[in-house]
Symmetry: C2
Amino acid sequence: MLDDPATSGQLPDADPSTGDAVTPMPPTGSAPRRRGRPNVLTREQVVDAATVVANEDGLDRLSFRSLGARLGVAPMTVHRTIGGLDDLHAELVRRTVDEFADRFTWPDDWRDVVRVFATTFRDLLLRHPLVLESHSSRAPLASTESDAVVARVVDALRAEGLGTEEAMYTFFVVYDFVVGHTAVQVGRGDSEAGRPERHRLVAEMLGSHSYEARFTLGLDVLVAGIEARLPR
Amino acid sequence: MLDDPATSGQLPDADPSTGDAVTPMPPTGSAPRRRGRPNVLTREQVVDAATVVANEDGLDRLSFRSLGARLGVAPMTVHRTIGGLDDLHAELVRRTVDEFADRFTWPDDWRDVVRVFATTFRDLLLRHPLVLESHSSRAPLASTESDAVVARVVDALRAEGLGTEEAMYTFFVVYDFVVGHTAVQVGRGDSEAGRPERHRLVAEMLGSHSYEARFTLGLDVLVAGIEARLPR
DNA sequence: ACCTGAACACCGTTCAAGT
DNA sequence: ACCTGAACACCGTTCAAGT
């Protein structure tokens, strides 16, 4: 992790791989635009650096100014390379989600498919706050890769006799539950901080409370509910 | 709405109600601290103004500088009165949640209790983005008032034979689902913006999609799941 | 005591220069 | 062409001065 290639940009005046584009190369028209000569920065380098900053210093230390410093380049160069803050976030999310989407081994039983999806998705959101924050502004998940995951769960439900539309909405119940559960857990804050006069029952609830148990029971309820609604 | 008393602070040099505290009134020791003489601002005035700004100009226009301008007072006076940004948000959330908590009429059947809670809670979160953002950092909901709402739902579940702990976790499934559902809906963004090559099935899903139907079916699944797990 | 101007340490983004 | 310094329009918060 520490010798990640992305950290090389940290060097004060490192010459960032001018290796592969030597000729000026006039635009060939239809081809994907070749970069010009003094192009010091690629999108990928930016996203690499952003990943490192986000992991090492936290998401709130991530800015064009900090990225510029780390990459040895003017902040505005980073800005122009990636397009803007939203694009940077989108790129970061896409990368993380793609890694997540590649990690599945699907079981046979549809109940296990639902459970594996929910559990893995939960891990993703707990580990990557930015994905949680962007859960939404990019549709179900975000990428072409993750679409396959969604499709796999929906297919498992259709195989049990649900119509496409009902299977899709059923998937979304699980999806929405996981998003909400992790959002609440991540932002837990001062649950028991000496707030005045909480209701007796609620105080008791907050006392004996485990997010693990909460998630597990939630999943049980969802699976039971889905099962109860399957045809026949 | 437009002649809300809180907007009076908008006047350039309005003398903000010096009406009720005339005598210097030395601190009586144990009593809640009486405000000194030149106290130009109360917490309530700040929260009033903040509510107006948030509703009229949007949450992102809400700042100590903008509040100061509206109240005809230095930004730092607002800051010192309320304590800090987190306190301002907490106060705003508490007020909104309390209003919400007062609006319930509870049906008899436990299924309807769950549905009424979920539907009303959803309305609250959709209408008040700040509550959605703070859903978490303040525990289940936030206030003494809202504790009664939580307790009412949990009690309805206990009346069906669930133990306290299971009833509480069951409540949280509904809670988490609503939080997630609204979070996704609010941040929907560019769902169908020409992203490249989405999976066929997912594209189809995004086409015919209604958050209303998604919520309704979600609730159906939850209620069915809870019912399936009731004793006997 | 209470209020507040100025300063500190940040943001994203625009735009007109520099090479 | 590509890169970038300076400026614009903002933030929350600290702190020492003003009354």
